[in-house]
Amino acid sequence: MSRRPSFTPKIVTANHLGVGDVVYLSASGEWVRDLSQAELIEDEAHAQLRLLEAEARLHEVVGPYLADAAKGPTGPIPTHFREAFRASGPSNRPDHRRAPPAPATPKPIMTHREAEVEGAL
């Protein structure tokens, strides 16, 4: 048997049907809003199974899919900036954030003055 290619860990995520906000599937099968409480799936077959289960719950959520994630200190963390924005909310309106910027969130885009202060120029 050939060795399986390495599998990037996954989470199951979707948007809540009624509200539209981002939800994640937890290990106990609940839809949770906090990424760190999502189930980090490290096995491909299990990931497909969990996705199928999520797809059977289309009266609860819209568009479930598997997203790449990594193991963080307190639960899964995003690896791509799109998932980071989904986890934390729009960056232009701090008042509409739902969580502090997740790991993998790109840095704020700096003005000239901020860049000078940071020594980035």
Binding site: N15, L17, G18, V19, G20, D21, V22, L58, H59, V62, G63, T79, H80, F81, R82, F85, R86, G89, P90, S91, N92, R93, H96, R98, P106, K107, P108, I109, M110, T111, H112, R113, A115, A120, L121
Partner: protein, 553 residues
Amino acid sequence: MYQYNDFDRAFLAERTAQFRAQVARRLDGSLTEEEFRPLRLMNGVYLQLHAYMFRVAIPYGTLRSEQMRGLAYVAEKWDRGYGHFTTRQNIQFNWPKLVDIPDMMDHLETVGIHAIQTSGNTIRNVTADHFAGAAADEIADPRPIAELLRQWSTDHGEFQFLPRKFKIGITGSPNDRAVTRSHDIGLRMVERDGEPGFEVMVGGGLGRTPLIGKTIRDFLPKADLLPYIEAILAAYNAAGRRDNKFKARLKITVLENGLEAFRDAVEAEFPARRAAFSGADQQVLAAIEAQFAPPEFRGGDAAAYEAARAADPVFRAWADTNLTAHRRADHAIVTVSLKAHGATPGDCSATQMRALADLADAHGYGELRISHEQNVVIPHVPRDALPALHAVLKEHGLATANIGLASDIIACPGMDYCTLATARSIPVAQAIALTLEEREAEVGPLKIKISGCINACGHHHVGHIGILGLDRAGVENYQITLGGDHTERAAIGERTGPGFPADRIVPAVERLIDAYLELREGADEPFIDTYRRLGMAPFKAALYDQGNVSDAA
């Protein structure tokens, strides 16, 4: 201005009742998302990254004060107290709950606004010159025609399932403020031997294949407009590609078949269409035109305006950038900037909406407009009322004096909201505006336009400086284009070269500005003219030479 009649109201009430039932059936699980999605899209309801989004059309960008209050009410009651005005003269609410959207629709219907055909493969909101009916350079107000098109296209049985979305833009002025050549059909009012008519352009569009519209008829008599447009739609409906979403827009149909062949198909269709209309549309148009009669202008005392200008430098700076010539010398067109430095372009709070509605009532005959550049326009203001109006704008953070300057940026929602985005867009606009704030008056007229993916909702192709955010191997990367033009000299910008990472895009734009200031022949040569005179080379050097190469990725 156009008022809904009983038929319009009954139609909308029924449509909302239908949608309410569809939402209920989706929520209880009897409709799948697959079944529901096209239904919600037909009613302007999207699902974005963090929430549903409800897109409401502001037909030809025209609003009465009570309609603006209606938007404010909806924003406060069912959303988070603000709305986002877009380049297509729509307003988007970013946070509605699905179950509330039918109530939002019902409320908007009471002030004569709806969301039908703000999505889907239909004829979308007809956009128009935001100075229509007020501009000094106008041949005639294009909005009655736009309203005729709206009535004709809304729920038009033949055109509900086009190969792809379909956008029409119209201007009544030789100076094109409606980017008509970026639309599937662009209409520019012209006169020939005293007879009113239109130059008709087809096949414009931005997105992944940006194309400037081509003239299919240089003079179409006004009375032939609807049948001719119907002929264009019919020819497109038959020939447009349904096999490939990316080749389905009219621009590709025209490109692949050639303008001549497409024109032949339209002309072949035209006689039968014209015969079928038998003049009924002209009667409707006459009734609509009566509703667009200009307000009863009162005289405005220019002396009071001049005195305020002389006395108050802040007022003067604002007047110099934010006023445009009205067709009456004693009035002015006021553009209210929704681009305070560091703010999200196009966002407007409910409080600001109400303040604008009150100002329109107090000084502007109750009329408002939304521009494709994501600003609000008060189209008719007597000059002597301008100081008082300016004072109220200041109280509401609406007096930014930057119209047409570097910080008057169009930016699409980008990665902060949009599911299709490949990079952030709004934060780039915010950082550029803050960075250039102090010297933008010196820099002068400049259009910076930013999109968060190749769909080009932020019009980057027609920006003097266009910025396109992409995802390169999981990292944001920003491509720059130069030399785009959104006016009657419409042009698609040219790529400078490799893109820049997020922390290098603002300094890159600054280098372009530095280069321009050095190269221009004087303060009266705007950026775009310097670029046209000298071409890409010196700007490219400013971006990539001087040890800056490492900036690009």
